[in-house]
């Protein structure tokens, strides 16, 4: 999936000042979402009861015998974790890679908001809702940044946000999951799915994954830009999300 990236690690690291700005700008509050977007998950939904969840987990999993025992052996580590719902914007990245005249290019969203709930014990019941403002899109060149808001590209006046909302999370074994749901860009909605690897380190959960979309599916790059010979149709989206409880 991430073959575009191999050999071209060109991820730029924001300076500390920029990180502070990013953190401040990240639309993590539901009231900042533009009208017309789906309601965002409430990050403060609460309701998590460790005791209830513990008994549920132990009873259902112990039925699996050895597998249950193996699982229980991880319990001390997992018991400390609740849900990982708070994005750490300064440590997280949302990148996209594409080819322009067959040259690998990489851009990123300078700010984005994501509402997660992820309980490691009940991954399938997790939820991810992403909102990424088109205005924060950095293609890597000022010239192109001036252009991406235009009607031919993202028409950001009319469609200011890219939006994704997970509908299913399927375990793929180990710490890998398949997350699927509708992705809306420029008024076009397509079902996308992405593999996600979850790594829990202490009180942080790190979600990594990448998936491909086609810009033509979202009418991104119309008119003279519609020809894939200059800017390729395939766009690789790559995310690295660091979250804390």
């Amino acid at each position: 999936m991430d073959s575009i990236y191999r050999g071209y690690p060109r991820q730029s690291v924001p300076n500390p000042l920029q990180r502070l700005v990013n953190r401040a700008q990240a639309p993590t509050h539901p009231e900042t979402r533009p009208a017309g977007m789906l309601p965002l998950a409430n990050p403060n939904h609460g309701g998590y009861n460790p005791v209830r969840n513990l008994s549920h987990r132990v009873w259902s999993k112990s039925a699996l015998g050895l597998a249950g025992l193996l699982w229980v052996s991880f319990w001390p580590e997992w018991s400390a974790a609740t849900e990982f719902n708070t994005l750490q914007p300064a440590q997280s990245t949302l990148l996209f890679a594409y080819k322009q005249m067959n040259v690998p290019m990489e851009g990123r969203f300078k700010t984005f908001g994501i509402h997660l709930h992820f309980d490691p014990a009940k991954p399938a019941q997790g939820k991810a809702v992403l909102d990424a403002p088109i205005a924060s899109l950095d293609t890597g060149s000022d010239e192109a940044n001036d252009e991406v808001g235009n009607a031919a590209w993202f028409n950001s006046k009319k469609y200011p946000m890219a939006h994704f909302e997970s509908t299913t999370i399927q375990p793929l074994g180990g710490n890998r999951y398949e997350v699927s749901g509708p992705l809306t860009i420029k008024g076009h909605t397509r079902l996308v799915s992405t593999p996600v690897t979850v790594v829990i380190q202490g009180n942080r959960a790190v979600f990594d994954g990448s998936f491909a979309i086609r810009r033509a599916d979202f009418s991104v790059g119309e008119g003279t830009w519609a020809d894939f010979g200059t800017v390729a149709n395939d766009i690789q989206i790559k995310f690295h999300l660091v979250t804390t409880p």
Binding site: R10, M101, N102, M105, E106, G140, A144, T224, W225, T230
Partner: protein, 189 residues
């Protein structure tokens, strides 16, 4: 050295002439293309021109290597005997600067592409490694360097051409003729 001490070399090889004129045309074309494309508004056409400019630039860089190799292994004809010390010194300096620019200009373009984060993929097929990590400020500086070096080249090439014409029309020597295609240059010392 190839012609031996007893018969001084009086002409350029066909290879040297071919490289000289092909690269002259290529450099003029690339210079004009560079001036034209830089001011265009962003469009697929502009992206194509930039790629073509880079591919042609890499080609001329490779030819410059061939040319340097040829120059080092084939002694060029002597300068005419009537030239004074200062003129000889200026001629050698001018040629040295031209050779230097044949390398410095594509190198500055390569560095600039790297710093601007737009790798060069030769003919869209072969990625050429970036020499620098992406750095916007450095990329803009290298843009200035690339442009300035090109204006210096334009100046030195103009001087080169004017002096060649002066040799032909004022000094009436063979300096210009011996570089022209189809003239062997023998007996024209």
């Amino acid at each position: 050295m190839t012609s031996g001490a007893q018969s001084p070399n009086t002409h350029y090889t066909a290879t040297a002439k071919g490289l000289h004129w092909f690269m002259a045309l290529g450099l003029i074309g690339l210079f004009a293309l560079g001036l034209y494309m830089a001011d265009l508004h962003l469009s697929p056409w502009k992206l194509k021109l930039y790629s073509w400019h880079k591919w042609a630039g890499v080609s001329l860089f490779l030819l410059a290597l061939v040319r340097l190799f040829w120059r080092l292994t084939h002694r060029p004809p002597e300068l005419p005997g009537h030239m004074r010390f200062l003129e000889r010194w200026l001629a050698h300096l001018g040629h040295a600067v031209l050779y230097l620019l044949l390398f410095a200009i594509p190198l500055s373009g390569w560095l600039m592409s790297s710093a601007k984060g737009v790798q060069t993929v030769y003919f869209g097929l072969w990625p050429i490694p970036d020499l620098l990590p992406k750095d916007k400020v450095l990329g803009d500086t290298l843009h200035e360097v690339h442009e300035t070096l090109n204006w210096i080249l334009a100046l030195v090439v103009s001087g080169h051409a004017l002096v060649a014409l002066k040799h032909h029309f004022v000094d009436h020597d063979a300096v210009l003729r011996r570089m022209l295609p189809g003239i062997s240059g023998k007996n024209q010392g």
